[in-house]
Amino acid sequence: MPDYSDKVMDHFTKPRNIGEIENADGVGEVGNPVCGDMMKFTIKVKDNRIEDVKFLTFGCGAAIAVSSMVSEMARGKTLEEALKITNKQVAEELDGLPGNKMHCSNLGADALHKAVEDYMAKHKTGEE
């Protein structure tokens, strides 16, 4: 069993924001079963802020905890702030991850960024 911090175990056993937002404003998907993890983030955006965020994750304990943590960190942030969330910050917020699980934190931040970029791409020539 990997040595997970209490915080990782907390987010793994009680993950926040599970699910998929219907008619989401932005969708970000990363990973595949071959590499072991898959994450899908959906976001709802209002006034340039992430009003709601949900995730679905196929992966290990660390992957699930990372997804949950990223969703908490992203909620309420402006799109620019969300894009600045780094994998390092995610790992720090979780009180660290075992060395061979650090790539899970990359995936979490990547999935969120993709969802934000998806929204931005759709709204480039939009109402503004």
Binding site: M1, P2, F12, T13, P15, I18, G19, E20, E29, N32, P33, V34, C35, G36, D37, M38, M39, K40, F55, L56, T57, F58, G59, C60, G61, A62, A63, I64, N100, K101
Partner: protein
Amino acid sequence: MKTVNLDYGAAAPLEPSVLEVMLPYYTEHYGNPSSGHGMGVKPRQALAEARAKVGRLINADPAAIIFTASASEANNLAVKGLAKAAGKKGNHIIASSIEHFSVLNPLKTLQKEGFAVTLLPVDHYGVVDPAQLADAITDKTILVSIMAANPEIGTIQPLEQLSLIARERGVLFHTDATAAAGWIPLDVDKMGIDLLTLAGDQFYGPKGAAALFVHRGTRMQPQLEGGIQERGMRAGTENVPAIVGLGEAAHLAHESIEDRPQKIAVLRDKLKKSLFEAVPHLHLNGHPLNRLPHNLNLSVEFVEGEALLLRLNMAGVLVSSGSSCTSQALKSSHVLTAIGVSPELAQGSLLLTLGKTSSAEDIPYVTEQLAQVAGLLRTMSPLYHQFLKERKTNA
């Protein structure tokens, strides 16, 4: 909290009567078997007795048993020891692609040293095709190494058929019987086996004692050099208490070779039935019938094995997984890959091995826990959501 150990393959408790016979060799009869004085006598006799008991388990000449500290060491000795002594006889070795790493990694090393290695594929159940073995043998082949049964998927190989092919071509046949010994009848004579690896900790003996049977007269180079213990094939003062324990465990396994496996197979089949009835989208890995009696390997579709393992552990149900996330190397099981299990299903694999504390009374609890954990992880699985959407569209 209730604990249900379904990971006996990883570690099993000592049989209390085994521990009892071992203890005097730590305290009273602690002498060195090589000593010329009186203290050496009892340990020397104990080694001889253990050798006889291990020999009986596999119907082998006791003098052909070499004690080692682990099955990995025995496999290393078998593969490298034979290769290094082969000389001009040849430089080609054949093994199956689902061998343990203690066979596969020595083969990789030998390859770097100029040996040629053929890894035979297996079918969807993990069985080696005898015809493919026959085709792979050349006049340079010095050794065929195919495990008796796979510890992960439980599949038992047609050893007699395979060894006969090797024998007819004058090639030595080694079988890694680590997972099989004590659980299925093995007879090196009848089965035409020249070398066999076994370990006591797989049948309630102590850790730290294993054995390699090597047909007498087989040329082999020791891999641990020093004194002349174990016919000069394995230097180092013998771990007498552990070897005594291995002997006793072999004796008990031999006595119950019909009864013990049969009982546990009945229990395993009950567990399997219960799990398949309660949990949708389960897949069995390995052979449906020809498998070790205490082994069950399942893939829980749409979810990942480490997450399952951790959740089950929280409920006191101890299992193992072939998922890449549970391995330090982050690679999914080479065995599941070899039998053609998709990456997604390999990630969701669970290995359950039953043992002496396993009881029918625990089956409902284990079933309930797996159903719950699988259900919970599926609610957050993108693969499961995708499946539900597709089913809706197709309906």
